[in-house]
Amino acid sequence: MKILKPAKAGTLESSDIYITVYPNDGEGINIKLESIVMKQFGSQIKKVITETLGELDVENVDVVAVDKGALDCTIKARVEAAVRRSSL
């Protein structure tokens, strides 16, 4: 899937994650993450975002993620929603 325009999904509520995706010029996947559980789950969150992008065949995207303690399933859903919105 191609990221055509900026798009977002999620909220800043507790246990959610706010994902914004931006197109970039073939610069690959760049993830900027802020999380209230950075020390405990920072790398896991990045891993889930990267894997979800892979499943959607996204190769180039800038992702800004603001995490409020979302579970993996939530992260996956928010990333997918943002990507689909950006490719419409």
């Binding site: 507790s14 246990s15 209230i36 559980v37 020390k39 405990q40 789950f41 790398s43 896991q44 409020k68 303690g69 979302a70 579970l71 993996d72």
Partner: protein, 513 residues
Amino acid sequence: MKNSIGREIPEHIENYGTPKLYEGPFENIIEATRKQPVFNCVKPGEEKVLESIREAIEKSGLKDGMTISFHHHLRNGDKVMNLVMEEIVKLGIRNLTVAASSIFPVNQPLVKYMGEGIVTGICANYMSGPVADAVSEGKLKYPAIMHTHGGRARAIESGDLHIDVAFIASPAADSYGNINGVEGPSACGTLGYAVPDAMYADKTVAVTDNIVEYPACPIDISQEYIDYIVKIDSIGDPKGIVSGTTQVTKNPIDLKIAKMTAEIIENSGLLKDGFSFQTGAGGTSLAVAAFVKEKMKEQNIKGSFAAGGITRFLVEMLEEGLFKSLFDVQCFDMYSIESYGKNMRHQAMSASMYGNPHNKGAVVNNLDVMILGATEVDMDFNVNVTTSSNGNIMGGSGGHSDTAAGSKLAIVVTKLIKGRLPIIVDDVTTVTTPGETVDIIVTERGIAINPRRKDLIEKLGDTKLPIYTIEELKEMAESFSGIPESLEFEDEIVGVVEYRDGTVIDVIRKVIN
């Protein structure tokens, strides 16, 4: 060296001394001594009212290296500590230990004074906000000492914590030093945490914005303990004095936890005439009280007392005849403050009467049921309420350890996961309250009973309550959240957690960021 619950405590802690190791909740409750305070007597005709805080500091003889104390009844609205510290700074006094019963965000100026070597030690029962963060980051010269509410009273009475000058924020004071907490613009109700300070400090200064005609009845702290009185413009901001939410929660998860807790209490056999109960002011705790109230009404049960920090909800239960009395160490809202001022059965208690293990029996010993919170709980039921899951100080025992030890049934209520962090873990960051004194953990997905309480396992076995082992609850939490990476700590000790008897139950190390 390891203490009896397996926490690694160094043989010597720099700038603290040789720690006495925690050995068990009741190992060290045998015989105790009270120190003999030495003080100046007041002759007839002598004046106690001084012109300014500065004059009081000068007359008190405060010098470098001494210990000053404050109480936290004005909570985040307190102005007294900051005003006193400003004058101390102007007088050039340094290297002080601040023994505050609790420290709140409003006490932020301490951070600067820590950096400048003006404040080098801190003792508190609870700390949150910038001061707690700065201590966690190692900005205080000496390790902070974290007491419990009862433990602080013990430390003061025994002489372990010697206070040179106590500054007592006083909502109303007369010209001879009688103090009450119910009159004036900064009324805060009872003054329980300030009582040991007044009785045992070498010098005691009442700081008030409300001088009333002699005598300031009903008296909370009496003239026999007060050296000086200082009048200032304002001792507190009423908005910060009253605690935040004292409403029953509407959150369905919290309500579910509260409902199960009430069922446990009902089935424990303790809910009968003469019942006694304590809970915090948080939404879930109040919801437990609400469900217990319903059950008491249905079954026409007349309780004995509710204790601790008192909220409107408990006052209403008193007014409805569900409890005979309230034991109040601290009022949490205006309604309780007014009740304390007018109701004979709304009884004040000092911090020592509340929870000191080294007196002839504290009120916690008479408690049937205690509702507690938790940041983390481990497989031995040890509870952390001192540090956050990020390793920084963000609380402290307060009365947690005291009530857990004293009560017949200590119930910890918590969500299974908070913001992705599993609350039930292999190893808590800091032990505040030993698992030996914690009976049940209640989460929205199930409860775990401490295996030591075979009687409870039997009593609750026939109910429909979802009972699991603590290990099963941990696995359940991890199945949703995943397993968190563990924090890394430096060797540097930034805090010493003293159990209520003065032994060291744990140390707080600096987190690697």
